[in-house]
Symmetry: D3
Subunit: 138 residues, 6 copies
C-alpha cells in the first residue's frame, strides 16, 4: 500500500498592507474594503506554513533537512518581512495584497527556490490572523 508523508514548517513574519483598487472611486473602495483602505496601511503578524512532500532518505530519516528548508523559506520571507507590501515589494502593483493573492505569491516564490532531491512544495497555508487563513496548492 502506498504511503504518504508531508512535513510542515511554520514561520512568523510581520508586514503591513492596504486594500485599494485604483480603478475605483474612494467611495467604492470604502464600501468594499472598509477599514482596510486606510492610506498608510495596517499590519499583521503573518504565519506561513510550508508543506513539503517527498520520500524519506534512509540515511538521514528525513524528507528534507530542516537546515536546508529553513533558509529557503527565510530567503523568500526576507522580501516581505517588516515591509509595506503595496510599496516595498514588486508583486502588488496590480494585485490587491489580500491573503488570497499573497498566499499564491508565496507559493510561487518557494517553488522557484526549492531544489532538493525529490522534495517538492505541496501546499502553503497563510494565516493573516489566527482566525483567518488561506490554503493554496496546485
Amino acid at each position: 500500500m502506498a504511503e504518504y508523508r508531508t512535513l510542515t514548517k511554520r514561520l512568523e513574519f510581520s508586514a503591513s498592507h492596504r486594500y485599494w483598487n485604483k480603478h475605483w472611486s474612494k467611495k467604492k473602495n470604502l464600501e468594499i474594503f472598509g477599514k482596510c483602505t486606510s492610506e498608510y496601511g495596517h499590519g499583521h503578524n503573518y504565519i506561513l506554513e510550508t508543506t513539503i512532500e517527498g520520500s524519506v532518505d534512509p540515511d538521514t530519516g528525513m524528507m528534507i533537512n530542516i537546515y536546508e528548508l529553513k533558509p529557503v523559506i527565510k530567503s523568500v520571507l526576507k522580501e516581505f518581512d517588516h515591509k509595506f507590501l503595496n510599496e516595498d515589494t514588486d508583486y502588488f502593483e496590480e494585485l490587491i495584497p489580500t491573503t488570497e493573492n499573497f498566499a499564491k505569491i508565496l507559493y510561487e516564490c518557494i517553488t522557484e527556490k526549492l531544489n532538493s532531491g525529490d522534495c517538492k512544495l505541496k501546499k502553503v497555508r497563510l494565516y493573516e490572523t489566527k482566525d483567518l487563513f488561506v490554503d493554496y496548492w496546485k
Copy 2:
C-alpha cells in the same frame, strides 16, 4: 496546471449539551456516555472553522468578502450560541448532540445560507475542546 485555494474563518461560541439516548435505561446511558449524561448538561467553548472554496475575483483579490462571510456564519451560530443544544434548539430531539452530529448540522445550516458568486462551503471543522475535533464535508 489547475490551482486550488480555500479560505477559512474561525469563530468561537459557547453552548452546553447532554448525551442521553431516551430509548436506553439510565444504567446503559451511564455506561456509554459517562459524565456526559449529567441532567442539566455541561458546556464548551466550541470553535468552528468554516472553509470556503471558489475563485478569486480579480477586482477585489478576494474569494469572498469577509464582511459578507462573517455575518452568514454569525447568523447560523446565533441559533446555538449561549444555548443548551438539547432543549433550546430543534435539531437534537432525536439526534444526540455529539460533535459528530453537531458538525453535520452546522455544515448544512451554512450551506443553506451561503449564496455568494461561485463560492461554496468545502468543509467545517468543529472543535469541542482544543484536543478533540470533527471535520465534516461532502
Copy 3:
C-alpha cells in the same frame, strides 16, 4: 536576598452556567445579563491555573510533587466538571455563577484541601474563555 518561587498547574474542565438574579424581573435580568440568561444555561471549557508558593525540598528539588498536587485539584474540579453550576452544585443558590464568584469558590475549595508541608495556595486564575479571565488571591 530573599528568593521567591511559585509553581503553577493548568487544568481544563467543562461546565455550564446561567446568569439569573431571582430577585429581579425577567426584563431586568435580560437587560443586565443579555444572552447569558438563557434558561438551560450555556457552557464553557474553563481553564484553571492553580499557583502554589513555598520552599523547595532539597531532596526532591520540588515545591510540591505534581503527583500530590494534581489529585488535590482534580478532586476539587470533580464537583464542577461536566456540571450545570446553578443546579448541580451547592455553591450558587444565592451567588450568580460569574467568573468572579466562581474563582473565589475554587480558591476556597483548593485552600481547604491542600495540606502539603509549607506549601500554600497563592492565587487562582480562572479562564472562562481564552479572552476573559479572573485572578483571585488573599
Copy 4:
C-alpha cells in the same frame, strides 16, 4: 483577611508602525532600529490585555459588566486599529511607537474613559507578537 480580584479582557487589533528618530542620521537609525526602519512601516496583530480591579457587586456577581467594559476598550482601540501609528494617530509625533510607549498610551486612554463604580484600571499588557510583550501600570 483582605481579598483581591482582577478581571482581564483580551482583545486583538492590527496596526503598523515604523521606528525612526528624526533627530538622527539614516545611518544611526539603521544601526539602532534595523529592519524596523523601513519607510512605510510594517505591521502586527497586537493583543491588548486590560486588567481591572474593584469589588464585586453582590446583585450581579460582577466587578464590571463585560457589556460595559468591552465598548470602552473598543472605543480606545478604534483610534489605532487598522492604522499606521506614526501617521494616522496623534500620539507618535515625538514618541517612537515602540511597544513600551504604545502600552503607556493605551493605559492612559483607557483610564480616561473608564468610569464604572469603584472599578479602575490596574494594568495593561500589550503583545506585539506572542513572544514579546510589555506590562504597564501605575
Copy 5:
C-alpha cells in the same frame, strides 16, 4: 451525495531522541544533524493528532467512543512517553528517530491496536514543536 467525517484526538507526551547514523563518521553526523547529535539526546513535548474515519452509530451519535479511543492511543504512547527513543524503545536501532520516521511508527502501532466496528485510522499528525510537524497516512 456521499458524506465524509473524521474525528481527531490530540494528546501530548514527552520524549527525547538523538540523531546519529552509526555508519557515518562523527564529522559527517555533525555536518548533517548539527546540535541534534548531542550524545545523551535532547527532548520534546510531542503532540500527536490521531484522525479516525468511519460512520456514525445512530444510537450514540459517535464514530467511536472517546472512552474507547483514548485508551488505545494512551497504550501506544506508553511505550514512548518519558523515554529516550534511541535506547528505551526497539524501533530505532536502525532507524533515525526523526519526526518523519516516528510518525510512521506511531501510525503503525495505532493501526494494529484499533479494532472498533468500521472505524479505522486515517492519518496521524506528529508535532515535534508547534512549528514543525509531519503528517503520515496510507
Copy 6:
C-alpha cells in the same frame, strides 16, 4: 505617580532531563519520581519568559533593544538547548533538574550576563509544558 513597566521576551528551547536522587534506593526514586526516573531521561520543549524592568530611553522609546536582549538570552540558552541537563551541563550534579531548580539556574545565568544601562532582570517564568510552569524572582 510612579509608573512601572516590564518587557518580556519568550524563547523556546529543547532539553531532556532525568529525576534521580543518587542518595536514595531505586525503589524510593520510583515511588517519588515515577516515570521521570527513566535512565536515559526524557525531554521537553521548554519556554522561557525573561522579564526585564527599567526605564525607557527617550531617544529610542525602548527599555532595552531587543537586538541586545535576545543575544544575551540566547547565549544563556546555548548551554542547555538540545542537551541532556543531567550529563551535558555542570549545574545538576547535586541538584535534581526539576523546573523549580532549573528556573533558578536560568535566573542566575541571565542576571550575570545582563549589563544594559539601568535595566535588570525582574523575573523568569519557565514552562516545562504549556500546563506546568515556575516563576522565579528575587
